[in-house]
């Protein structure tokens, strides 16, 4: 009972607010001095010669370091240092890509048995259909790689690297419509407002390259934009603003205004920014608004990006064979292929989280032609990214993820003809894959029934996927929390289990 009345629970209790409080607090002095003494005391823990010939600044710096070490986030030794998440927005059909269901060919056009559907909900788009005719893949499947994994003929390039992939066929989600489903995948909650995975990772682990943002987002310009993407999908939610994903534009100038305007040589820019920073700090001292901190950090980052971004965007050093590997689109900046190549260059610079989005996988109608176009636009570059990372040795510590927000139905939405059909949303099972750091290569995990309607073995929930991703980065998903509005939030909410069987 006493806890119930404890007014602490009802107070604004975000780290920023506490920081502000601390700054204004008369106890500030005591806190600081005691922390200082604490840091000195910690010194003995680390057995260095703290006072032997070290300058004052050095001692101060290492005091911080020791505190750093004590509360260092990696809860486990990480396997992955970077992540590239190739988000296939729209819900790619598992039937025409990875989940081979030969049985369906015999049942073409027959109604989906009720014993399979078991009265589960359908979307409003196909719930009123008079029949739910089963439709097999229009495209052929073949076995590939040493593992003999079945893959559709639509992805010949991905098929070449299939031995690198850990294919999870038993993904399932809770949302049946695009926006809640993507939001769920990216933030762990169907409703907007939570931080994105990339934001959580930057918040938890910090940056490995101070000259580039930790979390960069690339949206391809050549995906069909039938379903929108909102920038909140890579937003920081309630985390401090500096952890938000930075979107590079799809086009000739991924970051605008990097070059100095005509007539200005940029020589006094640093000076100008220093004065601006002083003004901002004055403002900060007066109001203590954490957004001012974020703004100062962003100006400084922008300044550093003036040199770092042209460097990373320049393709002058890329030989022809690299462009050929990623496909003809890779020379057209802003396409999926060009973004894959750019992603590799960002990963080379130790950008921690690169997220690509490619829209247009939402084939309610004309699926055979639609999905073929989607695969053509993405397959080669996806495979090239894996090969390129592998030859550079970057696949050692980079995790590559491919997948959409849900799968598609076994039955045809709309009219079924021999050459044409559509498929509706299906969150109960779908396929995604991971490759690289920390996951077993050449593995298929989980199984669906003959209709790829229900999971029959090793289901992997979206929260499980998120927990596994964090685990590979060295984070215990249950311990990475942020207190906001009186509650500690985490990416996986109150669920999530690391899928240990796919960890190498």
């Amino acid at each position: 009972m006493s806890d119930f009345h404890h007014d602490d629970e009802f107070r604004l209790n975000t780290p920023e607010f506490n920081e502000l409080n601390k700054r204004l607090d008369r106890r500030n002095f005591l806190t600081r001095t005691s922390l200082g003494i604490g840091a000195l005391a910690l010194g003995s823990l680390f057995g260095n010669s703290l006072f032997g010939g070290a300058s004052k600044a050095e001692v101060a710096a290492t005091g911080d370091l020791e505190a750093d070490i004590l509360r260092a986030l990696p809860h486990f030794a990480p396997k992955a240092k970077r992540v590239v998440y190739l988000f296939q927005s729209g819900g790619p059909s598992q039937f025409e890509t990875f989940d081979y269901k030969p049985m369906l060919a015999k049942m073409m056009g027959q109604n989906l048995p009720d014993s399979v559907r078991k009265g589960q909900r359908l979307t409003g788009m196909s719930a009123n259909q008079s029949a739910l005719p089963v439709v097999p893949s229009y495209y052929k499947f073949n076995q590939h790689g040493q593992t003999g994994t079945w893959m559709s003929e639509l992805m010949p390039f991905t098929a070449e690297v299939v031995d690198e992939l850990c294919i999870v066929k038993s993904m399932h989600s809770e949302a049946i419509n695009h926006d809640p489903a993507i939001t769920f995948f990216q933030t762990g909650n169907q409703l907007p407002g939570r931080p994105s995975i990339g934001s959580w990772v930057s918040y938890g682990l910090g940056s490995d390259n101070n000259n580039l943002p930790t979390f960069i987002v690339l949206v391809s310009k050549n995906g069909q934009k039938d379903q929108p993407l909102y920038s909140r999908l890579w937003g920081n939610g309630f985390l401090p603003s500096k952890f938000q994903g930075v979107q590079f534009r799809a086009g000739k100038d991924p970051v605008l205004f990097l070059n100095n305007p005509d007539g200005y040589d940029g020589e006094d820019r640093k000076e100008m920014l220093d004065y601006l920073s002083k003004l901002n700090q004055l403002q900060n001292a007066a109001y203590g608004d954490p957004e001012v901190d974020a703004r100062i950090a962003q100006y400084e980052m922008a300044y550093r990006m003036q040199t770092s971004v042209p460097d990373v965007l320049s393709t002058a050093d890329e030989p022809n064979e690299i462009f050929e590997m990623y496909g003809p689109d890779s020379r057209d900046s802003g396409t999926y292929a060009a973004n894959c190549l750019l992603a590799r260059k960002l990963l080379e610079k130790d950008v921690k989280f690169v997220q690509l989005y490619h829209q247009g996988w939402d084939q309610h109608t004309s699926l055979p032609s639609g999905i073929a176009a989607q695969c053509k636009a993405t397959d080669q570059a996806t495979a090239a990214l894996i090969k390129d990372l592998k030859q550079r040795g970057l696949l050692e510590d980079t995790l590559v993820i491919w997948g959409g927000e849900f799968g598609r139905t076994v039955y045809s939405q709309g009219k079924l003809t021999p050459n044409d059909y559509g498929r509706d949303h299906h969150p109960r099972c779908f396929t995604m894959w991971m490759a690289g750091a920390g996951v077993k290569p050449g593995v298929t995990y989980g199984e669906t029934d003959d209709f790829s309607y229900n999971i029959i073995k090793d289901p992997v929930h979206v929260h499980d996927f998120q927990a596994t991703l964090l685990h590979l980065m060295g984070i215990d998903h249950e311990r990475l929390t942020y207190k906001f509005q009186g509650r500690r939030f985490r990416l996986t909410d109150v669920e999530g289990k690391v899928v240990k069987d796919i960890l190498s």
Binding site: F46, G47, Q391, R392
Partner: protein, 444 residues
């Protein structure tokens, strides 16, 4: 609500109330002495009032003290001294008050200075009584010259050199038991002063029986259910930690409750090494051990638990990314950004200081030569090494032959040949060698 043990409750008030007469009587003496000066002459009447309050509180303290003495097991002689001196103190303070009242002052004239001397003597008596009381509560040795003179045992240099009784068991007992079982305060007639006293035990029998846990009263009591009336430490005093109990158990059962022996001199100390190390602060207790995800990870035991943070700080100021991969043990991932312009001579000392902690190392694209990279030999716990894009030759592979944890080596765009690959194959731990853009014909 039922009324609890009111005698115990009021008895426990004694140590609280007892400080009232102390304060008032000292205040009375101070006022008395001050009143000699002209400036403070007006304080004189206050002496009488202050003494009166001192007297009343002294009587109250005596009553409460008597109640406490009934409930506790205390050293008899010390108790009698404390009791008598306390009662005397109350009476004398009463008499002095009586003498200081105006009415009496007019009839019996006591020289002013005599009164002051009496008052100061009263403080002396109070000090004596107070010391006896403190000995009862905190033990005889609580305030003694021994504390000053005593040789403080130095913290042992390692778990192996730690004396099991002197460095480990005894400090535990001192910490958790001595408050009630030492010197003047020997509840249950038990003292934990030394091993002999433990073997002798108290009212309920020997506290320790070498080799026999079931007969060792001390072990039995600390492992009871905390709600049990015989549970120790009693009265909600801080209990022994799991770790401490394990150590005591091992000491009684496996080490025959010996004294004067180091860990190294005992048989099979391995099973308790971890606990002793934790107790002595050699490693932090692992808060995460209950986490099953943690325990699935096999961490190389050779990686040190600590690191040279000064070296870390210096490397960071030189632009290297020194990333923590884990804090227990301290695993580091160090990257020198490509084209940094930093020379090996500027960083090699600091890198060497961290060598055993470095698990991933990336020195790619910095124009390092074979001679720059001889230091790699010392990175014995290294798992992943990136030295691509450096003008190194086959010679560099010689440094990597003995690194028994090395898994992956990136030698892309270097001047190596098949010789290096053949060399690296001699190291069975190396699983992946990257040789893209080199003269190597047969990738490893």
């Amino acid at each position: 609500m039922t009324l609890g043990n009111i005698t115990t409750f009021s008895g426990h008030l004694h140590p609280l109330v007892v400080h009232l007469p102390i304060g008032f009587i000292i205040l009375a003496a101070i006022l008395n002495l001050l009143s000699y000066r002209k400036k403070y002459e007006n304080l004189k009447p206050a002496v009488s009032v202050t003494l009166f309050i001192g007297f009343v509180s002294a009587v109250l303290a005596c009553l409460l003290g008597y109640i406490l003495s009934i409930s506790g097991d205390y050293d008899k002689t010390v108790l009698i001294n404390h009791k008598l001196s306390g009662i005397a103190l109350a009476i004398i303070s009463g008499v002095l008050y009586y003498l200081s009242t105006e009415k009496v002052m007019l009839e019996v004239h006591i020289p002013r200075k005599l009164f002051s001397v009496l008052l100061i003597s009263l403080i002396a008596l109070m000090s004596y009584s107070g010391h006896q009381g403190a000995s009862l509560t905190h033990g005889n040795e609580y305030i003694s010259m021994r504390t000053l003179m005593q040789q403080v045992r130095e913290k042992p240099a390692s778990v192996q050199s730690a004396m099991i009784f002197e460095d480990v068991v005894e400090p535990i007992l001192q910490n958790k038991c001595a408050q009630c079982h030492q010197g003047g305060k020997r509840k249950g007639k038990l003292s934990v002063d030394n091993l002999q006293a433990l073997l002798k035990g108290g009212k309920s029998g020997p506290a320790i029986v070498p080799g026999k846990l079931a007969e060792s009263e001390l072990y039995k009591r600390v492992t009871l259910d905390p709600e049990h009336k015989d549970y120790m430490p009693a009265d909600g005093k801080p209990p022994l930690s799991k770790n401490e109990i394990e150590i005591i158990k091992w000491w009684i059962e496996k080490a025959g409750a010996v004294e004067g022996k180091t860990m190294a001199q005992l048989k099979n100390p391995d099973s308790i090494q971890m606990q002793v190390g934790t107790y002595l602060g050699f490693h932090q207790p692992d808060n995460g051990t209950s986490n099953d995800e943690m325990s699935t990870q096999a961490v190389n035991p050779d990686i040190p638990m600590q690191t040279d943070t000064l070296a870390m700080a210096r490397l960071r100021t030189k632009g290297l990314m020194v990333r923590l991969m884990l804090n227990k043990p301290v695993m580091l991932d160090i990257t020198l950004p490509a084209n940094s312009g930093v020379k090996m001579s500027e960083i090699s000392n600091d890198l060497m200081a961290l060598a055993k902690n470095v698990i991933w190392l990336n020195l790619s694209g910095n124009n390092f030569t074979d001679s720059d990279l001889h230091i790699l030999k010392s990175f014995v716990n290294l798992e992943k090494l990136r030295i691509e894009n450096n003008p190194v030759t086959d010679d560099v592979s010689n440094n990597l032959e003995l690194l028994k944890h090395l898994e992956a080596v990136n030698l892309n765009k270097t001047k190596i040949t098949d010789v290096a690959v053949a060399n690296l194959k001699k190291n069975p731990s190396i699983k992946r060698v990257y040789t893209w853009g080199t003269a190597v014909k047969q990738p490893g």
